[in-house]
Structure formats: C-alpha cells, structure tokens
Amino acid sequence: AQSVTQPDIHITVSEGASLELRCNYSYGATPYLFWYVQSPGQGLQLLLKYFSGDTLVQGIKGFEAEFKRSQSSFNLRKPSVHWSDAAEYFCAVAGTNAGKSTFGDGTTLTVKP
C-alpha cells in the first residue's frame, strides 16, 4: 500500500528565509509525486509534480522539489519565503496510471514578518 509521511506538523519561518518541507513516501515502484497547497477555506492547488526524468522539478510560485529514490523522499523547497506562502502543504503519492493519490497529513507553514 502507498503512504506518505510529513514529519513536520507545523513550521515557522521568517519572511525572506529559505524553506524546506519534508516528505517521505512508501510505494513499491516508481511513484508519481505531488505537492499541493491549501489556503484557509480553499481547495488544494497543485504546486508541482514528478513523474520521471529530472529529479529536480520546478513548480509555481517559486517552489521546487527534489526526488531522492534512495531516501524515498520528495522535499519541497523555496529559497525565499513570502508572507503569502503561509498555508498548509500536502505531499501526495500515486502509482500506476496515477489514478489514486494518497496524501500526507500536511505541514502548516507560518511566516513571521
């Protein structure tokens, strides 16, 4: 069965500081991996995805993530955080035809001025 672990429930960073959100997955084959962002009262929006090829993927809003097969990780990074990045971030894994995505429990990001 596929699963996702996001070890950090809550992270606080200062505006302008760098950010890394951790994601570890469990899946028997090469996974499809996703990061979504959810603002309060909103649905989830895709930030970026990994299917194959280059293990460093770029997404919207200046985010990037790196797939590391040896560590079963897909950590999300941003070099300089903006106050508008405060939200909840979800990592998800899917397999085969990417039909079913399994989500982690999310990391809440707070940005200090």
């Binding site: 649905g43 989830l44 979800f90 990417a98 039909g99």
Partner: protein, 115 residues
C-alpha cells in the same frame, strides 16, 4: 475554464439527518474523486469514478454513505443518517487519468458540521 464546482459550501445538520453534496467536475475530465478531510489531516479517498463506473470505493462507509455519477459528469455524495464523526470537509476533485497527468483539480469543498 470553470473549475470544479461544489455545493453547498457549508452545511450544519443534526445527527441522524441526511445530507447530500453535489460536484460538477471540469469539463472533459473523465475521473472524479470524493475525498474527506478531517481537521488537521490530509484528504482521504472515499470513492473514485472513471466515467460512470466506481472503480475504487473501498474506503466508502457503505452502511451510511452512497454516491452516484450519472452520465459520467456531475456527482452526488449522500450521507444518511449522519453521525457526529462525519463532521469534515468533503472535497471533490477531477482529473484526466490515462493521460499521464495525475494532477487533481479540487473544488473548494463542502464543510459539514453535525451537531
């Protein structure tokens, strides 16, 4: 292009009452999902449709939950009777599975409070 539309956005009911949620996916998306998101947790899949067929309903509590997707377009999720533990946000999503995309497009969700 219109996104995934869900209604109602908010619903407050007393336990044992029925409730229904409606979802209209993005036009052309063949796959529709209903997820439940409990407070402080990630979305959990309830049911996945490919066109009209429910291809994964293993996590749907079938004693009280039902869903349908007539004509392979919009969908309704029903709970009857509702229990206190059903309080959550019910998210609908759609996608073009089979095109190697896998990206889910979510609606804004329907927040259910059971008193």
């Amino acid at each position: 292009e219109a996104g995934v539309v869900q209604s109602p956005r908010y619903k407050i009911i007393e336990k044992k009452q029925p409730v229904a949620f409606w979802c209209n996916p993005i036009s052309g998306h063949n796959t529709l999902y209903w997820y439940r998101q409990n407070l402080g947790q990630g979305p959990e899949l309830l049911i996945r449709y490919e066109n009209e067929e429910a291809v994964d309903d293993s996590q749907l509590p079938k004693d009280r939950f039902s869903a349908e997707r007539l004509k392979g377009v919009d969908s309704t999720l029903k709970i009857q009777p509702a229990e206190l533990g059903d309080s959550a946000v019910y998210l609908c999503a759609s996608s073009l599975v089979g095109m190697n995309t896998g990206e889910l497009f979510f609606g804004e969700g329907s927040r259910l409070t059971v008193l």
